[in-house]
């Protein structure tokens, strides 16, 4: 797709970034102690902290990734929303108050609170760094994705802007600045997402979504063809011609026909009928050997690669209609359920001198897309496929309460009751947002706004369909989403380096000012690493990587947190072994998974395992390691029952 930059969008974006920087410099004057830098002095109001939790949590994965996934795969994308929210129940019921009671600045503080063990300090700091970096990569990639339509700048520039701005935010004021940035961002995200969803309801559904009359929707063509006795293909529209090898070519073998009209190639999905073939228009991207790309046979700038997404057969109250007019939330879902929506499949066709990705129409009953199974293999699935699905849902459930940048937010409030209340505010805000994601995703799915080459942009492009002002605001907020989340992650990572490793593990003698300086220098270094990783991981799916970050966090951290709180025989050796086993097992499985083999340039079938999500193996192993090692080291162990109850 070709994006046109709006001066308003650029102006809003720059204003927002300047506001955030100004806020950071203002708050920096009040951040002189390590308590101020790492925990915002522990005096943030619980409501502010709750919305800031939402700001931290509703990252690029939620806003961009989930909406894009729902837009292209229906209910399966919403499964992420449900899993992410469910994880907050682990945080509220088991972790929130004990974390506040036990820790000071970092996740390591809490799990090492009664042991003072060097091995725990080292392993927990490494775990924090690894999880933070895993989580940083998709955020930075998301930033790169956003700047292309917003500012017309390449991916790497977006990554650098985020990296530099965030590093300045964190290096100036630490957790106080990060908290207020997250508060404003979280609140704005909820307000303006609601505005877009109200717009979706107001517009209703249409078989030809013209974005309120602003933009004509491309009507996808359909033709018939017959096969002559010579084997030639005779097409109903005689201005199109098929090559002689239409059937034996790689396109033909994959169920497509390549046609030529006025010297331009087009690719059609071929479906056999009683009288011949039914040909349906597709979209395609052809990559030549020299890297040149053609979008539907033309340069990208020519705009021939259309935005897609429409209802094919629209029914309301059992009657077929062309458009519904305004609908309420439930009647909107009912109309989708009773209708047939065009989703899009994707196939790769290799030729001698090029590789082509063909996007073809898949008419799908609404009731089918409003239940799982379009993305996750659960229908007639093998045991491994079901295991992979369960493992992912387990990672989402267990990951939230083990994310270091979420856990450290419990230190910014003054009491255990405030920690609990801020979690409840977070659940309300995040739950509300995740309800909205379903409507955002389906809205994008049916409004002709999906860019098939990058579905991460579905939510901002849905906003664009309501006008450039809303697009400008939503894009700026989306960018702020990335800024905020990256800020939190860099605070967590810099705390792991400066506080856990330098101060506690290595025992470096530093003044309080020196500790703050060490944190700021660490933030700059981690920010630099994040920029580098954000650039080299361009093109990776945002939600995909976040799912892994959850799995690694849940495997490495959650067993240690829970067992310290609830099992009196837990020992320091057991905790550090558990973190090591969880971290290495989860990372190891990820590195040999089929999806990673695709990243290595190999086929997924070459991977030694056939599933991608490690949680169902690595979490139990981490628990097992803790129990076995703790039982083996009882004489040296320290009972922690009192610590959990104090």
């Amino acid at each position: 797709m070709v994006y046109t930059q709006s001066p308003l969008a650029i102006g809003l974006f720059i204003s927002f970034v300047l506001f955030v920087l100004g806020l950071s410099f203002f708050l920096a004057r009040r951040t002189t102690s390590s308590e101020g830098y790492y925990a915002a002095g522990g005096n943030i109001h619980w409501f502010t902290n709750g919305i800031a939790f939402a700001g931290d949590y509703l990252s690029a994965a939620s806003f961009l990734g989930i909406c894009g996934m729902i837009a292209t795969a229906g209910y399966d994308g919403w499964m992420y929303s449900i899993g992410y929210l469910a994880g907050w129940m682990v945080a509220l019921f088991l972790v929130a108050e004990p974390m506040k009671r036990l820790g000071k600045f970092t996740f390591t503080d809490a799990i090492d609170s009664k042991f003072n063990s060097k091995s725990i300090q080292l392993m927990a700091a490494i775990s924090t760094l690894v999880v933070s970096v895993f989580y940083l990569i998709p955020q930075m990639v998301g930033a790169g994705v956003l700047v292309q339509p917003l500012l017309g700048l390449p991916h790497w520039v977006g990554v650098c802007i985020v990296g530099v701005v965030v590093t300045i935010i964190v290096a100036t004021a630490g957790m106080a600045s990060t908290t207020y940035v997250q508060f404003f961002k979280g609140a704005l995200l909820l307000i303006f997402t609601t505005v877009v969803v109200v717009g979706v309801f107001s517009r209703g559904l249409s078989t030809s979504p013209n974005q309120g009359g602003e933009k004509e929707y491309h009507q996808f063509m359909s033709m018939t063809a017959t096969v002559a006795s010579t084997g030639d293909l005779q097409i109903s529209d005689t201005s199109y011609r098929a090559a002689a090898d239409w059937k034996s070519s790689n396109f033909g073998k994959a169920g497509f026909v390549k046609l030529t009209k006025d010297g331009v190639d087009s690719i059609w999905q071929a479906k056999e009928t009683a009288t011949g073939l039914q040909l349906e228009e597709t979209l395609y991207v052809k990559t030549m050997a020299d890297g040149t790309k053609l979008f539907n046979g033309a340069e990208k700038q020519e705009g021939k690669f259309f935005a897609v997404g429409h209802v094919k057969e629209l029914k309301i109250d059992g009657k077929e209609v062309a458009e519904t007019g305004s609908l309420g939330p439930l009647s909107y879902l009912s109309a989708v359920k009773d209708s047939t929506v065009i989703l899009w499949g994707k196939k790769y066709i290799q030729e001698a001198d090029s590789k082509t990705v063909v996007y073809f129409q898949k008419p799908t009953p609404g009731s089918r897309l409003l239940r799982p199974g379009l993305k996750f293999k659960v229908d007639n699935a093998t045991g491994t496929q079901k295991f992979n699905f369960i493992s992912l849902m387990l990672a989402l459930f267990c990951g939230t309460a083990a994310l270091p940048h979420i856990l450290i937010r419990y230190y910014t409030v003054p009491s255990q009751a405030a920690a609990r209340k801020s979690t409840i505010v977070a659940i309300a805000a995040i739950g509300f947002f995740y309800v909205l994601t379903l409507f955002l995703g389906i809205g994008a799915m049916t409004s002709g706004v999906i860019n098939l080459t990058d579905n991460n942009m579905s939510a901002p492009l849905l906003a664009l369909s309501f006008g450039v002002v809303l697009f400008a605001i939503i894009s700026s907020i989306a960018f702020a989403t990335v800024l905020g989340t990256v800020s939190g992650l860099i605070v967590a990572a810099s705390g792991a380096v400066a506080h856990d490793l330098m101060d506690r593990f290595l025992g470096m003698q530093m003044t309080d000012g020196g500790k703050v300086r060490a944190g700021k220098i660490s933030a700059v270094v981690v920010g630099g690493i994040a920029i580098y990783l954000g650039i080299i991981f361009e093109g990776m799916n945002v939600s995909f990587l976040v799912g892994w970050a959850f799995a690694v966090a849940a495997s490495a951290n959650l067993p240690a947190i829970l067992m310290i709180l609830f099992w009196e025989k837990t020992t320091a050796q057991g905790v550090s072994t558990s973190i090591l086993v969880g971290l290495t097992t989860a990372m190891g499985i990820i590195l040999i998974s089929p999806d990673m083999f695709v990243r290595y340039g190999m086929l997924p079938t070459q991977a030694p395992i056939s599933f991608n999500s490690p949680a169902a193996i690595s979490i139990p192993l981490s628990f097992l390691a803790l129990v076995v090692v703790s039982l083996m080291t009882q004489k040296k162990g320290i009972e922690v029952t009192d610590a959990a109850k104090a």
Binding site: A86, M89, I390, F566, A646
Partner: protein, 88 residues
């Protein structure tokens, strides 16, 4: 640098009660969530069943989100009451 809480916290006599309550509510929610995952994994076509005009998947999904908020509010109210009663 010490590693106790960043702010001084008073003794909480309600901690035991809140821990027990949290575990019970966690188990209840986990069972509800696990049932959702297991149905999706083993018999996904059931989720296409229509209940109250929507697919079961949509109804169950909304129910999990609303249940989370309701349980959080109830938990907070019970914890507040226990703190008021035991931390006089």
């Amino acid at each position: 640098m010490g590693h106790g809480p960043a702010v001084k916290l008073g003794k909480d006599n309600a901690a035991d009660y809140k821990t027990r309550l949290g575990i019970k509510m966690f188990i209840f929610y986990t069972i509800t969530y696990a049932s959702f995952v297991v149905i999706n994994a083993t018999n996904p076509s059931v989720m296409e069943m229509i209940i109250m005009g929507q697919t079961l998947a949509v109804v169950y999904g909304f129910a999990l989100i609303v249940l989370a908020l309701l349980m959080a509010i109830i938990y907070n109210a019970m914890c507040n009451a226990a703190e008021a009663r035991l931390n006089k």
